[in-house]
């Protein structure tokens, strides 16, 4: 296994940036997830690492080798595709053997390695079948097997679980993570599903518009999103964002809504708000850090219940604060109904403040 380094990587289509100066380092044995909405450049980035499309600028290193101009076959990588890309006219055995055959291994070695991989993945009984005779989950395993038969420097995975049904996806998620741990494999994993990234990855790279927004551990990304995009993309339900205006009265600082209510800020939060480039501030809060009151309460601001979504162990309530929606989680035992007037209290220690102009997270000056 090896480290992968992207340095100022650029891919242009015509005169658009598909990948805009992306730099990141994937350490040896690390599982890195590239996440973002569709069209954010994550798959393009993966294809650049694979060598499936020419790079427009920057450098990519796999191990110590600069691979910019190397053919995919010379990069010593393995890849799992979203549609599995199993060779339809070859049996499972032949599919698994193909990468070894192309590398001119001796026949007994090929057989031994294929059997090893098949045992690990529990697909020995499928070896003689054709891909079209397999279920989606089985095809997925074979695709994984084709990557595992070799010891590549890095595994590239392009949404490998997104064609599976929900239950199988959860199961494969843990299996995949287990394999990666056991092999201490270097994995670059593309997904649009932030939950997959959060649950599996050592680090996640959140992309949007071809730009790398944040590259950090899932916990860091979850707790300290660098901007409103990351804040709203990671976590389910998403972080609630409320655009407000900062008002200073003497030494006190508060956030004012267009409807007229005020939310006083703690001294620490006030210092953050002062560093903003204007008086426009976006307040961010995860559902678990928000309290809901049925009566007016000091420090709580008024709102109105929009919908109530019981999920079993938690009930999510969407509350309108003026034009903004705030999600609150409640015990299922709390009785609440739409259109009820409620009061919302934010936890000053856990709230996030973002610059309303630049969307960047605010830090104490």
């Amino acid at each position: 296994m090896a480290q992968v380094v992207l340095r100022e990587v650029v891919k242009t289509y015509g005169n658009l940036y598909a990948v805009n100066h992306v730099s990141l380092t994937v350490e040896d044995g690390e599982f890195v997830a590239l996440v973002g909405p569709s069209g954010c450049g994550k798959t393009t980035t993966l294809n650049l690492v694979a060598g499936l499309m020419p790079i427009s600028g920057g450098d990519i290193y796999i191990g110590d080798t600069l691979v910019n101009d190397l053919d995919p076959k010379d990069r010593d990588i393995a890849m799992v595709f979203q549609n599995y890309a199993l060779y339809p006219n070859k049996t499972v055995f032949q599919n698994l053997a193909f990468p070894l055959k192309m590398r001119k291994l001796a026949k007994p070695d090929i057989e031994r390695k294929v059997m090893e991989a098949a045992k690990v993945l529990d697909i020995v009984h499928l070896l003689k079948r054709l891909p079209r005779e397999l279920s989606g989950g089985q095809q997925q395993r074979v695709a994984l097997g084709r990557a595992l038969v070799r010891d590549p420097k890095v595994f590239l995975m392009d949404e490998p679980l997104s064609n599976l049904d929900a239950k199988l996806r959860v199961q494969m998620r843990s299996e995949l993570k287990r394999f990666q741990r056991d092999l201490s494999a270097t994995v670059i994993y593309v997904t649009h599903d932030q939950l997959e990234a959060v649950t599996m990855a050592d680090k996640m790279a959140v992309m949007s518009g071809g730009v790398l927004q944040q590259y950090d551990s899932p916990a860091q990304v979850f707790d300290n999103p660098v901007n409103t995009f990351v804040a709203s993309f990671v976590g389910s339900p998403a972080m609630s964002l409320v655009p407000l205006t900062a008002v200073t009265r003497g030494t006190d600082m508060s956030l004012q809504s267009p409807e007229g209510w005020n939310l006083s800020l703690s001294p620490a939060n006030a210092r953050k708000a002062l560093s903003a480039s204007s008086d426009k501030i976006v307040l961010g809060a995860r559902h678990s850090t928000v309290r809901l009151h049925k009566q007016a309460s000091p420090g709580a601001v008024p709102g109105k219940v929009y919908t109530v979504e019981p999920t079993g162990d938690i009930t999510f309530v969407q509350v309108y604060l003026g034009a903004a929606v705030v999600v609150v989680s409640l015990e299922p035992s709390v009785a609440i109904s739409p259109d009820e007037p409620v009061w919302i209290e934010f936890d000053q220690n856990k709230m996030h403040l973002f610059d309303g102009e630049t969307t960047m997270a605010l830090k104490a000056a």
Binding site: K73, Q82, A85, Y87, P88, P99, M102, L156
Partner: protein, 294 residues
């Protein structure tokens, strides 16, 4: 599966008569008779003696059926049979050569049109398509002069070269449709697994496109086998004639031998009809591919 005009039977089961369905059946019966009668009469005539065929009113059923006409055509020791078998062989040679060369040239071109985004690609592709529009006769005169200049008049090469361009646009168009349906990830996977771009094409894509290759081959073969205009113009040597032209010679020399002509026509149709019946699925797919989008 789908229900349309003719398919109202289930919903209309309680009605005494389903007029749409019955008129559909009557119509199909009419079409079947229209289609089959001429062919049936050809076969019936070919089983008659010359004398039995030239009667009025005609013998509806051969009174004394005979295979004499076929025996004569297939017997190399008699001059008629010798010529006929020579024509048959010529047709086979020209058609097979056209088919093979056509595949060799069309496959890479179709693949390129399907996969690569090179400048001029769209223009080239429509140039290929528009060739479908051109009448054979427009090309006949200049090609005749060209072949004369190249010293190819009277050779089978001149026909093969010409038929090749006849078939190419359609072959490329059909094969491109097949390549479009092969996911590009298969090639990418192969390249990551250690194949060069060419190996990925040769080892993965080519075998997958064999239905397309079969379909286009049938088309080229049938087209070449049936072609008449160029053959009649380019070939001047009696030994070189292909069947459609050879049969015409035969007709004018033995102008009155209708049963013999019908037998020859029958034999000439056998290869293409058999080919069509065996590979019907591919033929139909090739015919409709591209024009019908789902």
């Amino acid at each position: 599966m789908t229900s349309t005009l003719a398919d109202t039977s289930r919903s209309a089961a309680r009605k005494p008569i389903d007029w749409w369905r019955w008129s559909g059946r009557v119509f199909l019966l009419f079409l079947l008779i229209f289609t089959v009668l001429p062919m049936a009469w050809m076969v019936l005539t070919s089983l008659k003696s010359q004398f039995a065929a030239m009667q009025y009113p005609p013998q509806w059923w051969p009174a004394e059926p005979t295979l004499e006409n076929y025996r004569k055509l297939l017997d190399p020791s008699n001059s008629v049979g010798h010529e006929f078998l020579q024509y048959f062989w010529n047709s086979l040679y020209v058609s097979v050569a056209t088919t093979i060369l056509g595949v060799v040239v069309a496959v890479p071109a179709a693949y390129a049109f399907s996969r690569f985004r090179f400048p001029g690609r769209t223009f080239l592709f429509f140039a290929v398509l528009v060739r479908n529009m051109f009448p054979a006769v427009v090309f006949l005169m200049p090609l005749f002069l060209l072949m004369r200049r190249l010293g190819l008049v009277g050779t089978h090469t001149s026909l093969i070269l010409t038929y090749l361009t006849f078939g190419l646009p359609l072959s490329i168009w059909l094969l491109k449709g097949f390549y479009d349906n092969i996911p590009i990830q298969l090639e990418q996977a192969a390249r990551i697994d250690g194949a060069t771009r060419f190996q990925a094409f040769y080892m993965i894509v080519l075998p997958l496109s064999s239905p397309g290759i079969i379909a286009t081959s049938i088309f080229s073969f049938i087209g070449a086998w049936n072609e008449y205009v160029y053959a009649v113009t380019f070939l001047n040597n009696k030994d070189k004639l292909t069947l459609p032209v050879g049969i015409q010679r035969y007709f004018t020399e033995f102008a009155t031998d209708w049963p013999g002509l019908m037998a020859a026509t029958f034999l000439m149709s056998v290869p293409v009809v058999v080919l069509f019946l065996v590979l019907q699925k591919y033929f139909v797919r090739a015919l409709t591919e591209g024009a019908v989008k789902s």
